[in-house]
Amino acid sequence: MEGLTSVCKKSFSKSIVVKELAKNNGKVSFEVERGEIFGVIGPDGAGKTTLFRVLTTLLLPDSGEAKVEGYDIVKDYREIRKIVGYMPGRFSLYQDLTVEENLRIFATLFNTTIEENYHLIKDIYCHLEPFKKRKAGALSGGMKQKLALSCALIHKPEVLFLDEPTTGIDPVSRKELWEMLGRLKREGITIVVSTPYMDEASLCDRIALMQDGKFLMCDTPRAIIDSFDKNLFSVKGENMGVLLEGLRGADGVLSCFAFGDSLHITTEKDNVIFQSVTADSLKTYLEKTGLEGVEVTKTEPSVEDCFMELLSK
Amino acid sequence: MLKYLLEKEFKQFFRNKALPKMAVIMPFMAILIFPLVANFEIKNINLAIVDNDKSSTSRAMVQKIAAGGYFSISQVADTHNEAMIDIELNKSDIILEIPANLERDIQRDGTAKVLVSANAVSATKGGLGSAYLAGIVGDFNREINSDILTMSELTMSEQFTITPRFWYNPRLLYTYFMVPALMVMVLAMVCGFLPALNIVGEKESGTIEQINVTPVSKLNFILSKLLPYWIIGFVVLTISFLAAWVAYGLTPAGSLATIYLFAALFVLAFSGFGLVISNYATTLQQAMFMMFFFVLTFIFMSGLYTPVANMPQWAQNLSIISPLKYIIVVLRQVYLKGSTFSDLLTPFWMLSGFAILFNGWAVLSYRKKS
């Protein structure tokens, strides 16, 4: 019976519909499908947290309207708060309560118990199991963030808002978290998440790049990468520092940023100098300007490359 | 090094909305409002009269009592119970019941009784009120016997006129008593508690770790917290002197230097005490409560309101632990009686003892390494 009623209730497929939502000189319009992972990325101060607070009915918008699961964020805020899960950027716990007590409090806050939804947070919470009786205040930074995550995910909301959930968490645990988000997605939960990690952004179904309260772009990672209108080369050499300076000086090179063990440089697609724009033609050019032992390969842009390209405009 | 830390503390102090206002408001509130409120003077006691005699003697007696200035006739009732209702509703404080044919009894057998029932919930009011009333009745007796009193008996009571004379405060102004003590209270708050709250605030918000990581020494850190408040404390003290002079025309009889010396010693001791609390408290709430607890004890053991001599013996012995007691004695003695340094040796040694005790304890209990 439960299955049936939930189907007909959710006849429409859009979980979140936002029209001209404005708050302190930012304005956005977008829609999020049910069961979609919608990523919001952007520099600090772009308005990500404000957007989250408006959608979770914590702040009133200046103008425009938005509906979460069909409920209006201003009028039906009580309904929304029953079906929404929210993890703020600075999710503070009760420092003087133990790890387990914190979890139980948040479980009861969302009308559930630890046992009932334990399977949802098992992968992350297992790291905290050995410290169950320890006070939250005595945990290390990353551990606190993991506990906060477990507290936010201990219930099964219809829509989940996560504001930079993985800051300060080690790479392996971050991976586990995103696997958990994938499971939640398969159970039909809509997830809106903001993150500074570009590798995580590329795991989202769609990404919105936000700056100064507006969306520069809002599309699937694939579409964003395809829209990259520059040539991208990865350059390796012994002395990265010298190479970086050299490349920045080279004409035709639009931008040059370090990317792990290599440097990514961008050149105009139809640049006159590099008619046959290939890796080795670039390599010979560089060697002429005195940079030996340089290895140049053409590479596929990542979301991070697109992000930096869009921001530098 | 210390210079830069001090700069930071002062800037943060004036940028914080609440603190500067509090540091200025407190002395004025204490000096100007408090003395108006805090006095035990008993005046205009409400007297209910039940005159069953209605004779010339009874009317004369009521006249004399009303003229005394202490009492204002709040009610003239017919029966005792009627008057009692007013007592219950706190409309009147004392009932004077004059029995029927009082005048006839006096003429015939020379004695008569009047019934005084005083509401003694407030002991001072009940006690003093009835004592004043008895005094006036005593005078009235002398008046009605004036025709037949012998010369010697008259001279006997006339012979000895008892006149009280009050030194240092002839008009018994309560403000003279309270104001010097209040200055100390304000000093204690500004130099004792504000620095401690500041440190605990940094501890709770975690910004204290920023300093722990730098080569700032323990001593410099504590000094950077104390010095600003000492300076502000003495500015506030000087403002209080001016306020007392302007508002009440109260100027210290003794030398100002002595006051400042003892104030410095007291500030040293009390800020040490604040530091000890800041080392033990981990949250602001805790610090606030510990301070409230100890301040209350110090105030009531210091004779701020009523003299220590009034207290039972065990309380008096306990009162040596209150640094406030010694500085209040100093302030009052120097301010009002003009006592000099030599008269105040005990408070001097006690305050120095406190300074060493508290500051030593503060430094020992300050754990920089977590």
Binding site: E164, F257 | Y4, T214, K369
Partner: protein, 245 residues
């Protein structure tokens, strides 16, 4: 010339061993990455090196001073910056610079001169008078880093300096790190960004309080047959016994 030398350094909190007998050394001017999962003991180890925490056992020399005996002297010779707090938010930008310059004993005249130049370099002259609170996170971190090396320390400890910072600012931050290292300042940095691990000359990875791997990123990748540092990190994770990874 070694600026940091550590021999079987250990720290126990009751029965829990946060740092279990680690030994390593760092050369002058090196960018030394100090990686590890949450709760692996990174921050505890770093606190011991900075003189913030007294070791349970083991020896260590930082900037020529012994970490057990003269931790106060170490503090004068190093810089420190952490993600949570590095600057006083209720002080203006120049006030923070002036404070830390003063604390680390940079003479006043020199401090004012260099602070002007620093603000120009960072492009923060306009923000000179604004409170640090009003600066975006990225700018705050760049300013904090410059302040932490203002007194030209021989070593600077950076605890997750770029946590939550956007990609562009993060790279600008690392360019500043490169410049500082080139200037002879040894960089001791912890991070969770695996691409940043690649920028370090050498990287140590801690698991359950022990250093399980210590080498240059390139050699580590060869040793673990990994494409990038992310892979190295994950392969090491399998060694963790109490599921800490």
């Amino acid at each position: 010339m070694r600026v940091i030398e550590v021999e079987n350094l250990t720290k126990r909190f009751g029965s829990f061993t946060a740092v279990d007998n680690i030994s390593f050394s760092v050369e002058r001017g090196e960018i030394f990455g100090f990686l590890g999962a949450n709760g692996a003991g990174k921050t505890t180890a770093m606190k011991m090196l900075c003189g913030l925490l007294r070791p349970t056992s083991g020896k260590g020399v930082v900037a020529g001073f012994d970490i057990n005996r003269d931790s106060e002297k170490i503090k004068a010779a190093i810089g420190y910056m952490s993600q949570k707090f590095a600057l006083y938010e209720d002080l203006k930008v120049w006030e923070n610079i002036r404070l830390y310059a003063g604390i680390y004993g940079v003479p006043e005249k020199e401090a004012t001169e260099r602070s002007h130049r620093l603000l120009e370099e960072l492009g923060l002259e306009k923000e000179r008078e604004s409170l640090v609170k009003s600066l975006p996170l990225g700018w705050r971190q760049k300013l904090a880093f410059s302040v932490s090396i203002f007194h030209r320390p021989s070593i600077v400890f950076l605890d997750e300096p770029t946590g939550g910072v956007d990609p562009v600012t993060r790279r600008q931050f690392w360019e500043m790190i490169y410049k500082a290292a080139a200037g002879g300042i040894t960089i001791f940095v912890t991070t969770h960004y695996m691409d940043e691990a690649e920028y370090c000359n050498r990287v140590s990875i801690m698991v359950d309080g022990r250093i399980e791997a210590l080498d240059s990123p390139a050699l580590l990748k060869k040793e673990f047959g990994a494409v990038n540092m992310d892979d190295v990190f994950r392969k090491l994770a399998r060694r963790s016994n109490n599921g800490l990874l």
